[in-house]
Symmetry: C2
Subunit: 148 residues, 2 copies
Amino acid sequence: MTGQYLEDFAVGQRFSTGRHIVETVQIKSFAAEFDPQPFHLDEAAAAKSIFRGLAASGWHTAAIAMQLMVRGEFSPAGGIVGLGLEEMQWPKPVRPGDELHVVTEILEVRPSASKPNQGLLKVRNTTFNQKGEAVLSQTVNLLALRRS
Amino acid sequence: MTGQYLEDFAVGQRFSTGRHIVETVQIKSFAAEFDPQPFHLDEAAAAKSIFRGLAASGWHTAAIAMQLMVRGEFSPAGGIVGLGLEEMQWPKPVRPGDELHVVTEILEVRPSASKPNQGLLKVRNTTFNQKGEAVLSQTVNLLALRRS
């Protein structure tokens, strides 16, 4: 098993990802399976909705962010295993053609009180579009392994 | 536009959904696209991981919950539009063959101070498996429209 252990992380470290362009066909196919609402499926209906144009499902954006993170610099030994989110927000809609990337910042590094080989990382993941606007922010608690 | 307006909701109301069985092939195909980690892709690798067996991506579970909600009893006019989550947790892994459903409970109903035609609903969405175990819980703030 390779990757970063609890001891390798420190508050304030930042990790980046590659970039992913969100295509219209992806927006519609994700929505058809998981979030079949008109503003994610149809341009004309979306234009009349609160989004004023086709927008990706927020769950699609979150899934793309996860994919970028799994392939990015942040690589905890044992994988990226979420225990829970403390908050998640979608400050801007994701539009067809948007190019997304994620920045992960370490907020907290804490050994487990009960499990000597484990610990907890609190991180903030912010997903940005090509204009540098945040489209998704998450504060997440992740499992991390300690060096044995 | 049909559906429920802010005035139709009250604290303590509960809404249910249909059920969805999570198949192995779905777990692996979602993971291949959005969360390509061994414990979501391969039984042998998963058996040696912290999950001790194949488990759905938490983002897959969240996406399935959304799909169930969009087709369920909870049907705000204008759609289910999330402003943000206050918390989200995955108390148990989702396994191949699990049958999921979601219960939405209204926690708060609040007219907007600035927008006379809008309001906010705070809801708790809990996704259960066939044993009645919670596999996902979310506290979400949603947009709701007021009757004009």
